[in-house]
């Protein structure tokens, strides 16, 4: 009994020390999370067994007051004159490495988990655009929805924003994509 008490006491001391060290390490880490930030605003928790059909995506977007853009609509916008004029803007809501490995040509990056690094450059482009297409990986990825809400909260009119549900996965199967930095000129033709 005495042995067990000592073990429990030791564990409590370690738990307190470990928790303090963990929080300090997170605060010091350049990749650390911001504890006070709501990374998933305005929405319920992710459903455990979500089926990621288009219908469920449309419903989810409607809950957030957002509209879905399908692949043919997005392709049309990409090929239209507005794209060259900067009136059609693509926003990639993924992180640096995903963006660098392939994005819609000319898309602006908005890693929604670190908006302070991206919003100052993305916002001016979006504020003059007539249509903003936000995307992420596609499938179960929700980052495009949250990035769209972030743009709306920053002052971009909601009617200008659409979410491309197919994401980069669908895009790279049918349309050319750019690798490296924005405007790198390294255009790769579709996979099929």
């Amino acid at each position: 009994m005495r042995h067990l008490k000592a073990v429990v006491l030791e564990a409590i001391i370690l738990a307190i020390a470990g928790l303090l060290l963990a929080l300090a390490a997170n605060a010091l880490s350049p990749r650390g999370l911001r504890l006070a930030r709501d990374y998933f605003p305005g929405g319920p928790s992710a459903p455990i067994n979500a089926t990621h059909s288009t219908d469920s995506l449309v419903l989810r977007l409607q809950q957030h007051g957002l509209k879905l853009a399908l692949s043919n609509e997005v392709a049309q916008l990409f090929r239209g004159p507005g794209y060259e004029q900067g009136l059609i803007v693509f926003v990639d809501a993924r992180n640096d490495s995903a963006y660098q490995s392939g994005h819609v040509p000319g898309a602006w990056q908005l890693d929604r988990y670190r908006p302070e690094n991206y919003l100052p450059t993305v916002f001016p482009a979006c504020s003059v655009a007539q249509k903003i297409i936000v995307y992420c990986t596609g499938g179960s990825c929700e980052d495009s929805e949250f990035a769209a809400m972030m743009l709306r909260d920053a002052g971009i009119p909601n009617e200008n924003i659409v979410v491309y549900g197919g994401g980069i996965t669908e895009w790279t199967n049918a349309l050319p994509f750019e690798v490296g930095a924005r405007g790198s000129g390294q255009i790769i033709e579709p996979k099929r």
Binding site: L9, N26, L33
Partner: protein
């Protein structure tokens, strides 16, 4: 001659136990350090995975778990590898592994029910730090780790340990 032999058997057993405890400490320690590091390097991915478990709707608590847990795992792993406060660290591992395993099981049962997939064919990224895993295998692995950690809580002699207990041990 007989007396010497009977004395030697418990001593050998003890020695084997010490070696097994050292192996258990190192395996558990290295595993927890590795799992923790893989989450620390991709905190956002881990945050998304933790959210999938629906453990809380409070964003502060969700962030605390996602930000703190990986570092805490590294901390416990280091304690075991270095042999510091081994029994307390082992208890913390048990206290982490049991709810982790229960949550994984709960989520796997949910998927099993919703998608009608054979239980042992269910595969998902449990947020454990090793990517997508077959759930039966993960549950067995976690059970073995829990048993090993629980055993370490009661083993008193530790080889190559800097400070096995925070408090002086009584015979």
């Amino acid at each position: 001659m007989i007396t010497t032999a009977t004395q030697a058997i418990p001593a050998t057993r003890h020695r084997l136990g010490d070696i097994a405890a050292l192996a258990a400490r190192w395996v558990l320690g290295v595993l927890f350090i590795y799992m923790g590091l893989s989450k620390v390097l991709h905190p956002v991915e881990f945050l998304k995975l933790v959210r999938q478990y629906n453990v809380t709707d409070q964003h502060l608590l969700l962030n605390l778990i996602s930000a703190g847990l990986p570092w805490f795992e590294i901390f416990c792993g280091l304690l075991l590898v270095l042999g510091i406060a081994v029994r307390g660290a082992a208890l913390l591992l048990v206290a982490m592994l049991i709810p982790f395993t229960a949550l994984i099981l709960q989520r796997a049962l949910g998927i099993h029910e919703a998608q009608r997939i054979a239980f042992c064919a269910i595969k998902f990224d449990c947020g454990c730090g090793a990517g997508e895993v077959l759930i039966c295998r993960k549950l067995i692995e976690n059970t073995l780790l829990t048993i090993a950690a629980a055993w370490l809580m009661f083993w008193r002699q530790h080889l190559l340990a800097l400070r096995p207990g925070l408090f002086p041990q009584r015979p």
